[in-house]
């Protein structure tokens, strides 16, 4: 049963990790995009529609990534080229995404979806205890783990990553050094959109292979919170996402166990646990203001107009 629970936790945590990773890169470049929920739901609907039309969940994954990425371009154009307020534009993106996805998916409501099948690594999946859990998963899970490693390397080991962080900390200085701020930010925004779209694809192809309006049900907002929770570090996103997923699944099992044992635990309390746990961890990791300040992109959310 423990293995079954772990599998459920992975499914519940993967979309959070993916969307948060994308937003982390966007925010590291100094752009605050509150439209994660909207990009995620666009990814979900594009993935589902493409999978239904082509019969291939892999076409769905691609469509989800493209859907989220292209949709985020709208945000990029408004905030980077037209220098609109990032907070307001991000909120508008979420509202637009929820509405637009409903329109796109209207004809697909109630259709049974195509589930993305796991890819089993023959020998590794035979390792006792965690073999099956880690090595017989679907492509999106493997991608999420690869992205954590890749993004960590990119941000902290590569030259381009250093430039991106420099832009996030002081776009004026980066600009003075000859780094193309706007272009880098466009790419970072699109990367964030693509990751949110992939997270959406996970929802409509793996988590619950179906399409219903609003099916992201607030997961984009949780991903946004995860970025702050993780203090803009990829490995902490992985840990935070899985903590959140594990507490969420754990409380469901706790409800049933409490019934078996005849104990009274209010379900509302258990439902609030993931959020309470998040707050506690947030307090613990943010008690050191210095490290928090070091990790926070200093020009996050600030508009940039290059001087001519």
């Amino acid at each position: 049963m423990f293995e079954a629970i772990l599998l459920t936790v992975i499914t519940a945590s993967t979309p959070l990790v993916l969307a948060a990773l994308g937003e982390l890169v966007t925010e590291r470049s100094g752009v605050l995009n509150l439209g994660v929920e909207g990009m995620m739901i666009m990814g979900a609907v594009c993935a589902f529609v493409a999978a239904q039309l082509t019969g291939s969940p892999y076409a769905g994954i691609l469509a989800g990534i493209l859907g989220g990425g292209i949709f985020s371009l709208l945000f990029g154009f408004l905030t980077l080229t037209l220098v609109a307020n990032q907070v307001a534009t991000g909120l508008a993106l979420t509202i637009l995404g929820l509405g637009l996805s409903g329109q796109i998916g209207e004809a697909f409501v109630g259709q049974p979806g195509i589930k993305l099948q796991p890819i089993v690594f023959p020998l590794l999946s035979d390792i006792p205890f965690f073999g099956r859990v880690l090595f017989s998963q679907d492509l999106i899970f493997y991608l999420s783990v690869a992205l954590v490693i890749g993004i960590h390397w990119f941000l902290f080991k590569s030259r381009t990553g250093l430039k991106l962080r420099a832009i996030g900390d002081s776009h004026s200085s980066a600009h003075a050094l000859g780094i193309n701020v706007i272009r880098t930010r466009y790419l970072a925004v699109m990367f964030g959109g693509a990751c949110a779209g992939l997270a959406g694809a996970q929802l409509s192809l793996v988590y619950t292979p179906q399409w219903v309006e609003n099916m992201s049900a607030g997961r984009g907002w949780i991903a946004l919170a995860l970025v702050v929770f993780a203090s803009w570090r990829p490995w902490r996103i992985l840990a935070g996402g899985y903590l959140f997923g594990a507490v969420g699944i754990g409380q469901l099992h706790a409800q049933i166990l409490a019934q078996n044992l005849g104990i009274v635990i209010p379900s509302q309390f258990l439902s609030a646990l993931p959020y309470a746990a998040t707050i506690v961890v947030l307090i613990i990791i943010s008690h050191n203001r210095r490290t928090t300040l070091i990790n926070t992109p200093a020009s996050l959310g600030k508009p940039f107009v290059p001087d001519r």
């Binding site: 629970i5 409903g102 929802l203 609003n214 049900a217 049933i256 166990l257 078996n260 104990i263 379900s267």
Partner: protein, 357 residues
């Protein structure tokens, strides 16, 4: 916030619709307020199907504008008031959470008629209507007891309100009428609509050993999980057979159309009056989806129970029934009062969960 803006946009669109529709003066407006989207695959979709049937039946005499995605809370009042102001003769507000908003607006517009679904506050121009969903749940309980090998069913519940508690009790009563030792595990998802969370709850219940699932949440996600794991399940609000062709035993299907036609006809005839209506299987306000994936004898039993409930021979809440703690609630042969059922805040014997207070 997002819902507010969607609602405002939708109402703006509707206002536009009204101004063009004003030429057809003879047509009365029968208006609908939905909490979700009309294609949610569950609760709101069932109401919208009812509206479409009304449109088909009386479309020459009435128009049926609607507002979807109206959030419960202060925005609801604004949305309902906008409907009333725009010349609606009758307004159906189709969610429990619209109750106080509907009461307030009804007081402001004494000439407009209102009907609020599943609530309990009435006024001279405000009727309430509800469906005896528990009748269907009793039948489901009986089927579950016949079909479960382990004698344990899982119940995915939304919020501990009387409607849901009543459903859990009815299910357990039905099951116990077949197997006195039948057990029910309840998981509170604390949401009406979140496919992921509903699926997680379903997986948790299955991992903990139940082999039949039933749900009081809105999406087909639990049905899909049951189908994947190869166990049986019941649908909710709409026929969910598409999500589990080999899984669904039956579903409680909300069929509001007949009711909407009846009340609109009363409005046209001038015989509409405020009532507190609670219809059941016999009135056609809910129907059972075809009994599938079960042997013929179980199907025959389910059909017989359904017929008995329709004829009034069987009332699911008939004594002797004890409360969860073993204290007596109904004496042998005694039937539960509607008022008690509508305010139900206790479990009966056999439910394992402790009710969140």
């Amino acid at each position: 916030m997002k819902k507010l803006i969607i609602a405002l946009a939708a109402s703006a669109a509707l206002m536009g619709g009204f101004s063009t529709g004003a030429q057809a003066q003879e047509k009365k407006k029968v208006c609908f307020i939905y909490v979700g989207s009309k294609t949610d695959g569950g609760w709101t979709q069932a109401h919208d199907l009812g509206r479409q049937q009304l449109d088909k039946a009386l479309g020459t005499k009435v128009e049926t504008p609607f507002l979807e995605n109206v959030p419960e809370g202060p925005d609801a009042e604004r949305a309902i008031e906008r409907m009333a102001r725009s010349g609606c003769a009758l307004v159906f507000t189709t969610s429990f959470g619209f109750m106080d908003a509907t009461v307030k607006v009804a007081a402001k517009f004494p000439d407009v008629k209102f009907e609020h679904a599943t609530g309990f506050k009435a006024a001279p121009n405000l009727a309430t209507y509800n469906s005896r969903f528990y009748e269907g749940r009793y039948i489901q309980g009986q089927i579950a007891a016949k079909m479960s090998k382990k004698g344990v069913a899982g119940y995915i519940a939304s919020f501990p309100i009387p409607e849901v508690v009543m459903g859990i009790n009815a299910f357990e009563l039905g099951a116990k009428s077949i197997n006195p030792n039948f057990k029910l595990k309840v998981v509170w998802a604390n949401t009406w609509f979140d496919p992921g969370k509903e699926a997680d709850a379903a997986k948790a219940l299955i991992d903990q050993g139940v082999d039949i699932l039933t749900q009081h949440t809105d999406t087909t996600a639990p049905m899909q999980v049951a189908s994947e794991r190869g166990i049986l399940a019941f649908g909710q609000a709409s026929d969910m057979i598409a999500a589990g062709p080999k899984t669904q035993l039956t579903a409680i299907v909300d069929t509001w159309g007949a009711y909407y036609i009846k009340r609109t006809q009363a409005l046209l005839d001038g015989t509409w009056k405020s009532e507190q209506i609670w219809d059941g299987l016999k009135d056609g306000i809910l129907t059972m989806a075809p009994y599938t994936n079960m042997p013929d004898d179980v199907k025959a039993m389910a059909e017989e129970t359904e017929a008995k409930i329709k004829s009034g021979e069987l009332h699911p809440f008939t004594g002797p029934i004890n409360k969860q703690d073993g204290s007596a609630w109904l004496k042998a042969g005694e039937k539960a009062q509607d008022g008690v059922l509508l305010g139900m805040n206790f479990y009966i014997e056999g439910v394992d969960d402790k009710l969140p207070q």
